[in-house]
Amino acid sequence: MKKLKFLIPLAIFLGLAGFLLVGLGLNPREVPSPLIGKPAPAFELPRLDDPTQKVRKEDLLGKVWMLNVWASWCAACRDEHPYLVEMAKRKIVPIYGLDYKDTRAAGQQTLSRFGDPYVASLFDADGRVGIDWGVYGVPETFIIDKAGVIRMKHIGPLTPEVIRDKIEPLVRQLNG
């Protein structure tokens, strides 16, 4: 036992290296949302394409739906846009958009140019609803269950892997 004493510093070093290695793999930008497992914040917003029509949280109760926060000025939203369009085509889950701190014209132009995957896009001009949902960057994506509870949040652009491995199974389970 006494002879192995010289290994103690090595063990401490390895432990520290282990922690640092795990830390390297973490993304400090991904702040876990406290809203997961909680009822989605209430909102009442006009549609992007029709200011007279309002969408409220209560309108969406009873079905599993996805909220995708996007904006015409957001470059990373362009990256995920084709995947959203494909998701809409495959009818995986109804997608609602939240056009965050945008102008109506620019938002509509983006959708007409790149395709509109949204059942409806809600127009959040001042970003107030975004704050309620804890949005701190765009794009962000939420999955909301039939009871109106947030079940998942994805920060950053969606990828085919995230859609296949996380969103699709979760939606199936929630609908199941």
Partner: protein, 217 residues
């Protein structure tokens, strides 16, 4: 995840740093002053300036104009309509982390989200909400991560007391080692170099002394 790096945080928004509104009324006044100065670039004005008699007059006029602008700017300094409210808002904002640029507080950051959240804090203060209500509002949306001083709870125990425990552990180890050593008989230690030198020096002569004194000086 690499893709998350591309997460478009708000700083990518082009109009981010040039907010649509003028943040500080002084800016507009400065601009007006600039316009007044620009008049001197007009050739006809320069011509007038070339005549000495007119020059003094123009200098007086321009100086007065500048002073007027300066006086106006001075008046405009209290940008906030209520300095006490502003101070209270800033005090709360320095406790909150900006999620876009994570090493800054909401008070320091120019990110658009930070501006929005500062306005939100101000609005809530105007409404008469307590500091704690505002902190709760923020943590409900962004989690404990927004707090520069996270609350003490089971998951943050290591964070709060880890350093103290490590320091204490180090001190205890040091104490134990020193105590054990002080109880050992002098024979257990290697002889002190100086003692050794003295002993050798006493028994022998100069060459031994140079050997011991060399590397230790």
């Amino acid at each position: 995840m690499v893709s998350a790096v591309f997460h478009a945080f708000q700083p990518t928004k082009p109009r981010l740093f040039g907010h649509g509104h003028v943040a500080n009324p002084r800016d507009t006044h400065g601009y007006r002053c600039g316009l007044r100065l620009a008049l001197t670039k007009n050739p006809s004005v320069l011509f007038v300036l070339s005549s000495m008699k007119h020059c003094t007059r123009w200098i007086v006029i321009l100086t007065l104009a500048l002073l007027a602008g300066w006086a106006q700017a001075k008046e405009a300094v209290p940008a906030a309509e209520d300095p006490a409210l502003e101070a209270r808002m800033l005090r709360i904002a320095t406790e909150l982390r900006c999620l876009v640029c994570q090493n800054q507080t909401i008070a320091d950051s120019h990110a658009e989200l930070a501006v929005d959240l500062r306005n939100q804090v101000k609005e809530m203060l105007k409404r008469g909400d307590s500091d704690q209500m505002i902190i709760d509002y923020m943590t409900a949306r962004y989690g404990d991560f927004v707090l520069y001083r996270p609350p003490v709870k089971a998951t943050t125990l290591v964070l709060w007391f880890g350093p103290a425990v490590l320091l204490l552990g180090g001190l205890v180890t040091l104490y134990v080692v020193l105590r054990r050593r002080s109880r050992l008989s002098p024979d257990e230690f290697e002889p002190d170099p100086d003692d050794e030198g003295a002993a050798v020096g006493a028994a022998s002569d100069a060459p031994a002394r140079t050997r011991t004194s060399g590397p230790h000086d």
